[in-house]
């Protein structure tokens, strides 16, 4: 997961590496993902979200579809 100044440099990077263009996430969405994943990481209770919890978190941030579903077979 790389950082880019703009969609334009994402497209240039994808073309240069022959990698399909995939979803973009803005910094507010990225921060919310970080909080969901890591805010309790240094505590006894910490654990990775389950697959269903991941889908729920992604959906709450507008990240929908099979790309964001850990159980999806569409990309296999």
């Amino acid at each position: 997961m790389l950082l880019f100044r703009s969609e334009e440099t994402v497209n240039q990077w994808c073309a240069a590496h022959n990698i399909p263009r995939r979803p973009l996430v803005d910094l507010e969405q990225l921060w919310q993902l970080a909080v969901h994943w890591y805010a309790n990481r240094l505590t006894v209770e910490s654990r990775r979200p389950t697959s269903d919890e991941m889908v729920s978190i992604f959906n709450s941030l507008g990240l929908t579809g099979p790309f964001w579903d850990p159980k999806s077979d569409e990309w296999r």
């Binding site: 997961m1 790389l2 950082l3 100044r5 973009l24 990225l30 993902l33 970080a34 579903d69």
Partner: protein
């Protein structure tokens, strides 16, 4: 000690030592910290890996490559926080270190294509928003197929 208790103890030691020093500890250092045999630590590394909470260094199971959001090796995502320097595994984890430590942080990163310096900053529990974007090249179901590439 029950398996889960030991795994929790090792996991907390990893994160506490990393937070304190900026460096992800190896199995020997964790063994000394919590006074258990190193082979027990290595067994727990395997269990944490199976739970997708840790990635041992390929070819050297005594070292930790990733204890997300922290990286055991220098990366393109250094993070300054609490007067220390950490390394994140990716752009998500650069914010993840600030979220995990609950503190202000700054990551002097760069554009993945042009190399232009781009700074990510967290102040008072919120990101300093800029029009940058993160590109997720790998779908969620495959992140752990090759986590280093992801």
């Amino acid at each position: 000690m029950p398996k889960d208790d030991l795994a929790t103890k090792v996991k907390l030691a990893i994160y506490e030592m990393t937070a304190e020093t900026g460096r992800v500890p190896n199995s020997s250092e964790i063994s000394r910290r919590i006074d258990i045999e190193e082979n027990e630590v290595l067994t727990v590394f395997g269990r944490l890996h199976a739970k997708r909470l840790l990635l041992p260094e390929p070819g050297d199971p005594r070292r930790i490559r990733m204890a997300p959001p922290f990286s055991g090796v220098p990366t393109a995502f250094p993070v300054e926080a609490n007067g220390k320097q950490y390394y994140a595994n990716c752009v998500w984890d650069a914010y993840g270190i600030a979220a995990a430590l609950h503190c202000d942080a700054i990551s002097r990163a760069s554009d993945g294509h042009t190399g232009e310096p781009l700074t990510l900053e967290v102040k008072a529990g919120a990101p300093v928003l800029k029009p940058y974007v993160a590109h997720f090249a790998v779908p969620a179901g495959h992140w752990w197929d090759d986590l280093i590439f992801t």
